[in-house]
């Protein structure tokens, strides 16, 4: 196997500490090399070094055996290295074609734009990711989120890279779309491209990766072939101590009385006739593919979006609200999907963020206390409330976000992708806190595409597909396979009659 990329003793220093220390890392042609590690383990920094983000790294990097300097994205690209980012890097008001071939638009003569080739080439690229039907001159702002993800991948392929670095490419994709992506990855492997694959989905990695490297606290723990390592061993290497059973079933303390009941809830074009109920102290999971309308349902449940019909009953009495702060007053809270845009205001401190949803609830003095308590409970690290949120790691930011919604003392807390892109350690703390809340009588609605988490935490799961409620799994110990089948509209829990109505 030819080594496409080799890094010898590479380190990168941030003010005061080493983000990445003396790393040896190599990628063979035609191989998927997974890179695992908690947030803050230096994984994303190493990836950025490869992508040419920094010009002050030390150590040696060889591409196809030749030493190279990767001091800017242009240099990395010149050496055949391509990045696919978690947060989309497409320019929305610009046409897809120009996004795909950004930086290397085809020209007739020295600088005149060659429109024909531009359209032809971008159509070809779109074909490789199954989007052949879209007109390449359409603006990116007019296509859907998942289509944009695939355009992002097509863009990387456009530079026919020899090394492809993928950072959490499947986090926003549905199961079907993930399978299509893995198909594309296998085709690339056959073409001899070396792929560095970063993800938190351990089952995913065992499916696609050939080798895996685990990093912890800026250092490399080990590089192993995927065949001779188990998921538990990987987790142990990542957090450096016995993983134990990831999800310990909690003794269910579900009370009988129904906390929240929803009848025939619908919003034109998003979800129709949704009926379900949540009991006090129960964690209700909502399973479904992305685009099934789960987040839209959650937004309507807390008044961010209007509803066109149906009733919402809390503790038995119907409630009406037209705005989110009315819903919050009733005790309905929603931890939103995207931490960066909707969750936390980057220019506020940790304390200000925690109180940002309950401004009218606490006096300044009580506010300080509740912040201190929540920072301790959720082990936010570093535990200083005046610190800028932007300087915290992804996992700690997510803890602060959860603290923000716990501060509103909700009767029903809706969680939307609570642990996406979060390291294992923080994920544990968050799960711990959610389970404790349920034990204390809160009701929790959990929306997540992380199937182990959904299966592990939920007491009961309802299944949504294309905006309809198509079934329910009323067993605490349901497995990921059952959930996966149900989400795709199959399996015995799905009663076909409902969907066809």
């Amino acid at each position: 196997m030819k080594t496409v990329l080799e890094m010898k003793q590479v380190s990168k220093k941030f003010p005061g500490t080493y983000a990445v220390k003396t790393i040896d890392f190599d990628v063979f042609a035609g191989e998927v090399h997974a890179l695992l590690g908690e947030n803050g383990a230096g994984k994303s920094t190493l990836m950025k070094v490869i992508a040419g983000y920094f010009n002050d790294y030390t150590g040696e990097i060889l591409v196809n055996g030749k030493t190279v300097q990767l001091h800017s994205p242009a240099m990395a690209k010149a050496n055949g290295i391509q990045m696919i980012y978690q947060e989309l890097s497409l320019a929305k008001p610009i046409s897809i074609a120009e996004n795909l071939l950004a930086g290397r638009l085809p020209t007739k003569g020295t600088w005149l734009l060659d429109r024909k080739t531009l359209i032809h080439e971008s159509k070809k690229l779109l074909g490789r990711v199954g989007l052949g039907h879209i007109d390449p001159l359409v603006a990116v702002e007019e296509i859907s989120q998942s289509e944009a993800e695939l355009v992002e991948i097509a863009k990387a392929l456009g530079n026919n890279p020899s090394i492809l670095v993928m950072d959490e490419p499947t986090s926003a994709l549905s199961k079907e779309e993930v399978d299509r992506l893995f198909g594309i990855i296998n085709v690339l492997k056959k073409q001899g491209i070396g792929i560095v694959y970063i993800s938190h989905h351990l089952p995913e990695i065992s499916k696609i990766a050939d080798r895996v490297t685990v990093m912890r606290d800026g250092e490399k723990v080990a590089t192993k072939d995927i065949t001779d390592v188990t998921t538990e061993a990987l987790v142990e290497m990542m957090i450096g101590r016995a993983a134990g059973e990831m999800y310990r079933k909690r003794s269910s303390s579900i009370k009988e009385d129904v906390k929240l009941e929803v009848k025939k809830l619908s919003r034109r074009g998003f979800f129709h006739n949704i009926d379900f109920h949540v009991r006090r102290g129960e964690i209700l999971g909502i399973c479904g593919l992305s685009g099934a309308g789960r987040s839209e349902l959650a937004r309507s449940l807390v008044g961010i979006d209007p509803i066109d019909g149906g009733e919402i009953h809390l503790d038995g009495t119907e409630i009406q609200f037209r705005s989110m702060n009315r819903a919050l007053a009733y005790g309905l809270a929603y931890l939103s999907e995207s931490r960066k845009e909707q969750g936390l205001a980057l220019r506020l401190s940790v304390g200000e963020n925690i109180l940002s949803a309950s401004i009218s609830r606490y006096s300044p003095k009580d506010g300080k206390e509740i912040v201190k308590k929540l920072i301790k409970d959720l082990q936010v690290n570093p535990a200083e409330d005046h610190r800028m949120i932007a300087t915290l790691s992804g996992g700690n930011q997510q803890k602060v976000l959860l603290a923000k919604w716990m501060a509103t003392e909700p009767k029903v807390l809706i969680l939307d992708e609570p642990t996406r892109g979060v390291d294992i350690g923080s994920k544990m703390v968050i799960h711990q806190a959610v389970m404790e809340m349920a034990n204390r009588g809160y009701s929790v609605i959990l929306i997540t595409s992380d199937l182990p988490e959904l299966a592990g935490l939920s007491d009961r799961v309802i299944i949504m597909r294309n905006g309809h409620f198509i079934g329910e799994i009323d067993r605490v110990d349901c497995t990921e396979e059952e959930l996966l089948l149900a989400a795709n509209g199959k399996g015995e829990y799905v009663n076909a009659i409902r969907e066809s109505r």
Binding site: L348, Q379, P382, T391, T408, Q432
Partner: protein
Amino acid sequence: MQSANLDELKKDSRSLELNTLSLWISKLGIFIVVGIFLIVGPLVSAKFYTLANLTTILQTVAILGIVAVGVAFVTYSGHYADLSVPSVMAFAGIITVATLHYGIAISLLLGILAGLSIGIINGFVVGVYKANPIIWTLAVEYVLNGLMRWIWGANQIYPDLHGNNGRAASSFVNLARQYVGPIPLVFILLFCAVIIGQLILSKTRFGRRLKVVGSSAEVAKFSGINVPLTIGIAFLISAFAASIGGIFLTSLVKLGVYSNGTGYDFNAVTAVVVGGVSLAGGRGNIVGVLGGTLLLGILVNVLNLIGVSQLYQTIVEGVIFIIVVGVNQKSLRKLGRDDA
């Protein structure tokens, strides 16, 4: 998994140590620069610290200060600036003068209400429909300016001192010249505006909501904050302050005309930004705006005393404006508080 052994998770490796200089700059901010000029002042002219000179400095920027406090709320809410301020000032002044025959109290009220109506429109369009604040308030400035010139033409509306309601007119005219003890009324108004503004911003719930909206409107929306209402109130405050400033300016120049507020839009933004309120929103305070306003007044005074010609002064003002803003922005970034 016992939660216990999670505690030894190593301290977050990316802690930034705060360097003290930029901490001080962001704390004191503009008052350092004001201090420098207060030292330079007497060197330039022995009589810098006479009562007359200081009163003039404060008097010439008092009205600008009041208006700047209002505009600061719009900038703090992350919406750049309110370019309709000049017309709102003139409009409030004209309405007050035109309705003097109802008596001073009612005419003042009508003047302020006239200004507030513009604030409501701005607040609604920018708050609910998310129109670009610069372009929308520019359009409102054009429309209002055109309307005033069409209805009242260019003829100045005089407070009719000798007419039957002479008393209301004369009390209006010396509104800007009124003294409460040794202190001119307009100073008191400025300091009240600053104090009330600072209290609103830091102590009230609205102030805290405005800080979240200023940092990120999307996060505020998803935190249950009524974002359009909060932005609407910010524009209302701006229009309210502009109306009061406009009425006092009209009283000072003793006549209502459409061109009364010219130049106040950019001067107010200068005072606000130099005072440390960042255009990105969610940062700065009203006391800083007072500092920015004072700096503008002292700067002109010192330049006059040195004998710098008016033509040079605009250059010096522009250069100092960019330097102060640049330093302000750099210190914020060093503190890691700004993702600019």
